[in-house]
Symmetry: C2
Subunit: 323 residues, 2 copies
DNA sequence: TTGTAAGCGTTATCAA
DNA sequence: TTGATAACGCTTACAA
């Protein structure tokens, strides 16, 4: 009865193929030319021994890379419930995947700093602090921050929050609106910038309250607010999902949108549960993801990577009208 | 001018602290007792040298573990757009995180099989095949399959698709419905089971078509179908999101739900964009996630892990009524 | 094109 | 409680 068999290693394969360890390594990695016949022999030996390729743990140590990029998104169900997060995540995953890199989910509370990552992305969290940041710096792990706070040494990918918010506010002002309210996100860099843009036009804009980019939450917030007959003619939301919640709640109370109340969003995502098109600030979600992933690749390669600021544009839909 | 300085290692710390390499290792890992004073000295030396703790790459090789669990979810934006996926993902991430394990996203197309993972979860994909599976088996990576096809050697976590679907069908039959249609998911184990449950009661149920668990997609499907005046009194969907799409489309066409058309879903998630409560089959999403994560932990520990079958229950809401 | 040899930075075994 | 030493399995100069 054979004891617990040691796993097959590249050395075993090399021996079976009658070549040296380094040649066997080259046959798998292709990092240097190997004669076709030799490679055949190595691969055949590997197949015969049931060898599934170089142990990634060993190869990682040797190369000093894990092939994994961490992404901090806060609580998963919160982050991914927002449809704006997904096209971006897709783009990141696609670009990194093409480069052979995997994506590791990091909570922002946790101990994942102990896991080996080649770089980290801080995104979606909508927070100003990240416990793991100092650890990453100490480990020399490059960090790319998306719409986040400014930390020394990180690379930034951002969008024109303030300009977009201001353009939207102007649109409402042009329509004759003078008293507007806003539903905000959690305190964060993005929220502050957008609020600044809104106040460039409506210095007195009233804050309804803050909630996540979640339809039910926005609806609940709107329910309380609208019940008080607040006397505003427009509500500016910080996401399309929030805006959808406000529209649904306004209608439930018998208000016509935009006849009695104009509602605007942010992001430019599809809102199939509404039968109108939201007036919103469209941001280039996939571009943002690609830019983020490319910044990551650059930083891993040791390059100097410039910060990125992406443009947004106002899309006028059917949810806003004359005051 | 100092050259490119080699990174500080545990050996450097040990030397600076005047202890042996193994003692320094113990001071960090706590795997064996170390006197308090010695540990102090080691930690102080580490701080002085800017040492951020043992290199995880080296530690991984030595221990033969990466501390990472892969999760295959197909295309990210598709998988995560389904609200049913999120509570489950949260639970997985929480249980694994508590055990110090990270979660690596694996597309089902990609080369992530080369990344070092201690176990893999196959979930949400709604597919029958997975290119990476053979690789994982060859590497002896344990696999936990959620609602998926049966592969030799994997551990299964599943729910009572068929029983739930049948209970729902009975409910409709009791209400007098005789001609029903169903919106299906992609061909998959879950879909086949649920369809079987439906056909236990309605052998002739008509298939409207298949789509992802996506509101817009279901709405489009329903638009075509309802335009043809199909003469059914109930539509059974395979997710609550699909059901919401059908409800919205039915109303758009002037049909009352459930007066003119009964609509049922599956999952039991919140549907804030509807003002009625769906009749649905509630599945224990968080339990499913926890069971999955615990199966993963068991398999990593080398234990024999039993398959898990979780119960579902019918929840009668306001979206179904007499035929 | 192939072989030799030197690590990569830990952790675990064993003895002191 | 601490210390010496041997792996873990691979990649890459360098030499042939």
């Amino acid at each position: 009865m054979p004891g617990p068999t040691r796993a097959t290693t590249l050395a075993d394969v090399a021996a079976a193929a009658g070549v040296s360890l380094s040649t066997a390594s080259l046959a798998f990695s292709g990092n240097k030319p190997v004669s076709a016949s030799t490679r055949e022999r190595v691969l055949a030996a590997a197949a015969a021994l049931g060898y599934a390729g170089p142990n990634p743990l060993a190869s990682n140590l040797r190369r000093g890379r894990s092939g994994v990029v961490g992404i901090a998104v806060g609580q998963l169900s919160t982050a991914f419930r927002d449809p704006a997060a997904l096209p971006m995540l897709d783009a990141i995953s696609q670009v990194l995947g093409a480069a052979g890199l995997g994506l590791l989910l990091m909570g922002d509370d946790d101990e994942h700093a102990r896991l080996p990552i080649d770089a980290a992305i801080y995104d979606i969290c909508g927070r100003d602090s990240w416990a793991a940041y100092d650890d990453l710096v100490a480990r020399d792990v490059p960090v790319v921050v998306v719409e986040g706070p400014t930390w020394p040494g990180a690379t930034y990918v951002d969008i024109e929050h303030r300009r977009g918010a201001k353009a939207l506010a102007k649109h409402l002002h042009d329509l004759g609106h003078r008293r507007v309210a806003t539903v905000t996100l959690a305190a964060s860099h993005a929220q502050r910038e957008r609020e600044a843009g809104l106040r460039d036009v409506f210095p007195d804009a009233h804050v309804v309250g803050a909630c996540a980019s979640d339809l039910g939450a926005a609806q609940a917030l709107a329910a309380d607010y609208l019940a008080g007959d607040p006397g505003v003619s427009a509500v500016v939301c910080q996401s399309d999902v929030q805006a959808a919640g406000v529209v649904l709640e306004a209608r439930r109370r018998g208000l016509r949108v935009p006849g009695d109340l104009s509602v605007a969003g942010f992001d430019g995502v599809a809102t199939p549960w509404l039968d109108l098109e939201l007036t919103t600030v469209v941001q280039p979600l996939a571009d943002k993801g690609r830019a983020t992933a490319e910044a990551v690749l650059g930083r891993i390669a040791g390059a100097d990577v410039a910060d990125v600021l992406l443009p947004v544009r106002l899309r006028v839909g059917d949810s806003t009208g004359p005051a």
